[in-house]
Symmetry: C2
Subunit: 212 residues, 2 copies
DNA sequence: CCATCAATGTTTACGATGTTAACATTATTA
DNA sequence: TAATAATGTTAACATCGTAAACATTGATGG
């Protein structure tokens, strides 16, 4: 009955992955508050203590789910950059737009990343041992922040050759990151009252003002 | 023993206020995760079911606490504006700085406002009946968003007379709000890696770039 | 091929929590 | 002063995270 290419685990073929997958689904359906270990276990047809064989506790499972979301996020940002191989300014614009679009389309991911301390955990573990290029055991390109950071670096060379803008790198990164992060949150959480296409408005801001 | 000017309630003089007050304290001390109705009740020397006489459920208490925080926040923004009675640009700069400073100094408030759906609740209730100038039964000046919105309005008249900046009001508000909101979150949650005075960096961004 | 063992899943139990219902007490008021 | 509404308490229940004891299964070495 159970056809599976990679029979990594026995009893339940790769329960670990299924917990993450079903957990992400539960998170989407019931939101962060409605999320519980026991529900995830039930969704996997498994006793409520089974997850403890794969995750130290609830936070560890949420962290793993967050890694999954973060990987998709990184991929989305990287795709945006790749659209403009030789145009740092457009790279940054498109990446900013993707940033906002991602969280607008996945509001629960935003909650997840905000609530769990994923970012801090990732930053810590990346300093530890593996040079910062690994999300737990999930093979992944990069931390979203690194993608953004380097995009800003390239952007900086462009705007400095044109105008004599003297913002240093740190300030510029905080400016760019803060802007897209804040807009993402306001739109995603529907805190910005506006009758119209929020994403279009955001796009206009990035293209015509912030990163123009 | 119990000396109190306003004996609003009997058994326990004004338990409702004390629940909010002790709740805010608990939130500061133990964070959002460590917050529980029963702990708050215990902090007030009251049975764990007593809060239900004053709040429909846990969320309602958290909402009330959030209102309290929001009122402080509004006050902080208003103070910033008042520093520059006749200079819209400086008003916006100073308000943006206060915005960031407030959340940097009260990280738990940020979590609170983010986690509870305070903003949405306020927006809804402000459309209902009272014209948007009331936080539940807490008398308060204004919703922080309104203060910001009107500051941007005034700012807009200034920048349009100087340059021919054609951003419409909505875009400009989202730009300003998103920027300070995002920077607040990144700094408050220590997600922005920087060895230096974060607040100074933020101030520089607002003064020399974003709202210059 | 079988015995051992580690990996994985189950059952049971415990304490904390949110919530409700039934009851008790106090302040207000008719 | 009696009735009533407001407020607080106690008891109970379901859910939850977590841990310990136990069971089962797949892998491994003789």
């Amino acid at each position: 009955m159970n056809i599976c290419l990679v029979q990594e685990n026995y009893h339940h073929d790769d329960l670990k992955s299924e917990l993450i997958e079903k957990g992400l689904k539960l998170l989407d359906e019931e939101g962060y508050e409605g999320f519980s270990l026991r529900k995830v276990a039930k969704a996997c047809n498994v006793s409520h203590a089974a997850p403890y064989r794969h995750f130290k506790n609830k936070d560890e499972l949420i962290l793993a789910i967050g890694m999954e979301a973060m990987a998709k996020f990184s991929q989305s940002l990287q795709n945006a950059v790749n659209q403009y191989p030789d145009d740092p300014r457009s790279q940054l614009k498109e990446m900013g737009y993707s940033y906002i679009k991602f969280f607008t389309e996945n509001p629960e991911y935003l909650r997840l990343i905000f609530l769990s301390d994923i970012n801090k955990r990732i930053n810590n573990s990346s300093q530890d041992s593996n040079g910062g290029h690994c999300f737990a055991d999930k093979e992944i390109s990069e931390h979203p922040f690194e993608i953004l950071y380097r995009a800003v670096e390239r952007y900086k060379t462009v705007i400095q050759s044109n105008t004599d803008n003297s913002m240093d790198q740190d300030a510029l990164v905080l400016y760019c990151w803060g802007l897209v992060h804040g807009i993402s949150i306001l739109i995603s959480r529907k805190e910005f009252p506006y009758q119209g296409d929020h994403l279009e408005l955001a796009r206009k801001i990035l293209w015509e003002k912030a990163f123009a």
